[in-house]
Every structure is written in structure tokens, then in C-alpha cells.
């Protein structure tokens, strides 16, 4: 073979070799094909464990019951029983060690998520008692009149 063919060929082969050597060191050892084949299952195995180790933030109402039993007790006798505490108080993380206190969402917007009247047939929204935010005591926090943990209408009128 002639030199002018042979030399570039060597360079190309050399480069391919270099890339493969680089790849050998750069690509993590656990990068390979798995159960779902090359099309869907070609990945770094360690990443699954990384995702599993992601931090859980929402603990659920059970978590609160030892310390705030009164709130749980009162809400469980009201239609708000279905609403998770953390929907209004934010994720608990490691509360009460970290954070020591959880926030309290007193905004009207928080209640209007469900109670702003939307007459939508074929949606569950239609069966929740709704109010018109512009008419119903506009500007005042809902919780100054309604108890979020026991929103009874008795004695209000």
C-alpha cells in the first residue's frame, strides 16, 4: 500500500483507539444495558439508587398525630378531614427538629382553591359549597371567621 494512503489510515485508527481508551476510563463501570435492552434500558445502574435516596419531604397526617392530636381530632369530625395537614402547612421535613415550626397559610387563595364558586357540571367542583370571592367578605382572611380545622357553619349567621 502507498504511504499517502497508509499514514492517514494509521492516524484514523489511532484516533479510534484513543477514543476507545478514553471511553474505557470516562464511562462509569456500571454503565451498561439492562432488562429493557439497548433501546430503553441502557443506563448507569447507580443512578437508580441516587433517585431512591432523594429526600422525602411530605410525611402525611399520621406523622402529626402524636403531637397535634387536638387538631387531628377536630378536623376528623369535619368535612375538611380529607385535606392533608401539609396542604395548608407545607411539607413537614423533620419537623419539629428541623424546621422547628411549620408555616401557616392563612391566605384567602388557599381556601378559594376549593371554595371559589365554579358551576362546572361533570366535575366534583360543582358539589363543594362555593362562594363568590368578590362578594363574600372580600379583603378579610377566611380563617378570621371560619375555623379551618372545623369549618362548621353553626353559630355563624
Amino acid at each position: 500500500m502507498k504511504n499517502h494512503v497508509f499514514r492517514p489510515l494509521m492516524v484514523v485508527l489511532g484516533l479510534i483507539g484513543l477514543v476507545l481508551i478514553f471511553r474505557l476510563f470516562y464511562v462509569p463501570k456500571d454503565f451498561s444495558s439492562h432488562e429493557n435492552g439497548y433501546m430503553y434500558g441502557w443506563y448507569r445502574t447507580g443512578n437508580i439508587e441516587e433517585w431512591k435516596a432523594f429526600k422525602v419531604k411530605y410525611q402525611g397526617a399520621e406523622y402529626c398525630k402524636d403531637c397535634h392530636a387536638d387538631k387531628l381530632e377536630s378536623i376528623s369530625q369535619s368535612p375538611h378531614m380529607i385535606i392533608q395537614c401539609e396542604n395548608c402547612h407545607g411539607p413537614a421535613f423533620e419537623h419539629p427538629s428541623d424546621p422547628e415550626k411549620l408555616p401557616i397559610d392563612r391566605s384567602r387563595g388557599q381556601c378559594l382553591r376549593c371554595h371559589a364558586k365554579l358551576a362546572y357540571p361533570s366535575s366534583g367542583r360543582a358539589s363543594i359549597r362555593g362562594i363568590d370571592p368578590e362578594q363574600h367578605n372580600a379583603g378579610t382572611e377566611c380563617v378570621s371567621c371560619h375555623n379551618p380545622h372545623k369549618p362548621s357553619l353553626e353559630g355563624l349567621k
Binding site: 485508527l13 382553591r113 376549593c114 357540571p121 367542583r125
Partner: protein, 260 residues
């Protein structure tokens, strides 16, 4: 043999021996044609009941907090759409901020600060539809990833390897459901992963736990006793964009023609 000649031949020899072996390591034909492993014990599926959804958006709020998606950035792993059909045959749809703050007004968000109010007497039907990643059986987003940074786990969830993603955006273009976006902080592809860190610990996803009305449910399709599996097997459920052949694993009760 001259020294020069020897070196040349040796180089060819070495390249000749190493190249094919190394190449085979990248693509192993046996694995290449390996089918899906059907021995898996878990296949996560999701069930959405659109009749129960009231559009409170507490699922979106919980998802953003749980999965560390910047709260004020206009991207979210799950969102809720509102559909309003009026008696004149028109339909309107919106999802302001992905419904992070719920739907607290009857005004439809047309974008660019414009709103259209629809009177309740003009409404023919109206409802809410939660959306999230479909964790497709044949995920196109995974097929198009050039580096193996997104993949399907043996239990059917599609994950993104943030340390491996190069941010090319092919998967974002490839998803027919538009569930993928760039994470504002990491600048890598981001998507709902059924709260993989929660479901693998026996917890519900953040959105399922946050939903007060049971509009969202998660289950294991490989367990015949699972209540979600029972509903999917015995009741009338729909999926989104069936014609794409992606085999989505999020099932809907009460889908409508205009919901895509």
C-alpha cells in the same frame, strides 16, 4: 525486518486485535435483541379520575415542593388543565401556572395577560384534567437520548440521570405529551418520575397523597389484587394519544374527545 516496518506492523496488529473487541463491548448483540423482562414483579401505573378532580391544584403545589422544582418558575412536573365547553359549540382550555394555585376564577387565561370570562349559564360541560408523565411502555424520549441519560427502570418508570444528561433537548422535543422541560437550576432534562424515591419506600407519590378527593391513584399493574389494577382491568378507562403507539401507563376515567 526494519525497525520502522516492525513498528508499523505491530501497530496494525494491536489495533486489529483491540478494535473489534472494544467495539463489541459497546454493542453486545445478544443484549441488543433482548426483549423486555417479563419476570418483573412491579410495573407502576397511574389512574386519574377526572370526575373527582376539583382543580384545587394542591397536587401541583405538593409536587413542586417534594421534587425541588423552583416554585415560581413556570415549569412543573405535573399540572391540571381546565376544559370549558360552551353551548355555542366552542371549547376553552387553560392551565394558569400549571394550576399551582388552583382555579379560583371563572375567567379563562388566554395568555399574555388576557382573560375571557364565561358565564355559568353558557357552560355546557366543564371539568379538570390532571396531567403527568405517562411512563410509556415504549418511551420515545428514551429512544432519542443520544447518551443513555434517560432510561426505563425494570419497574417501568422513566428516569433522568442528571449527571449524564448533556442538555441537548431531544427528549423534550420527542415527548408527544409535553411533560419534559429543562430544570431551571440543573439545566438538565426534567420530568415526573412517579416520585420514585417515595414509591420505592412504600409511600404514595406526593400528588396522590396531597389530593383530598382521590382523583389520583398509583398502583402496581403486576399485582392482580391492587385496587388500581382492578379498576384498569374491569372498568372503562382511556389513555392519551393512543395512536402514537407509546403505550402510556397513566389511565383516565372520564376522558373527553378534546383532551389530548
Amino acid at each position: 525486518m526494519k525497525r520502522r516496518e516492525f513498528l508499523k506492523k505491530a501497530a496494525i496488529g494491536v489495533a486489529g486485535i483491540t478494535l473489534p473487541l472494544a467495539a463489541l463491548e459497546i454493542v453486545n448483540p445478544r443484549k441488543m435483541f433482548a426483549g423486555k423482562d417479563d419476570g418483573a414483579k412491579v410495573r407502576w401505573v397511574f389512574l386519574v379520575d377526572t370526575y373527582k378532580c376539583v382543580g384545587c391544584g394542591l397536587c401541583v403545589k405538593a409536587c413542586k415542593n417534594e421534587n425541588e422544582i423552583p416554585y415560581d418558575a413556570n415549569v412543573t412536573r405535573t399540572w391540571v388543565e381546565r376544559y370549558v365547553f360552551t353551548k355555542d359549540g366552542k371549547f376553552h382550555a387553560d392551565t394558569p401556572k400549571g394550576a399551582r394555585d388552583g382555579f379560583i376564577t371563572s375567567k379563562i387565561d388566554l395568555g399574555q395577560g388576557k382573560y375571557e370570562d364565561i358565564k355559568s349559564e353558557d357552560i355546557q360541560k366543564a371539568f379538570f384534567v390532571p396531567k403527568l408523565c405517562n411512563q410509556c411502555e415504549n418511551p420515545p424520549c428514551v429512544q432519542v437520548c443520544p447518551v443513555g441519560a434517560t432510561y426505563q427502570t425494570p419497574d417501568g418508570v422513566v428516569l433522568v440521570d442528571r449527571s449524564w444528561c448533556i442538555g441537548c433537548g431531544y427528549c423534550i422535543m420527542g415527548c408527544p405529551y409535553g411533560v419534559r422541560f429543562f430544570h431551571p437550576k440543573y439545566h438538565t432534562a426534567e420530568k415526573c418520575n412517579f416520585c420514585y424515591h417515595r414509591i420505592t419506600k412504600g409511600l404514595k407519590t406526593a400528588c396522590v397523597q396531597a389530593c383530598p378527593f382521590g382523583a389520583r391513584q398509583i398502583g402496581n399493574m403486576k399485582d392482580p389484587k391492587d385496587p388500581v389494577t382492578k379498576i384498569i382491568m374491569t372498568e372503562r378507562v382511556g389513555i392519551l394519544k393512543e395512536e402514537y403507539g407509546t403505550k402510556p401507563q397513566v389511565f383516565y376515567i372520564g376522558l373527553d374527545r378534546e383532551v389530548k
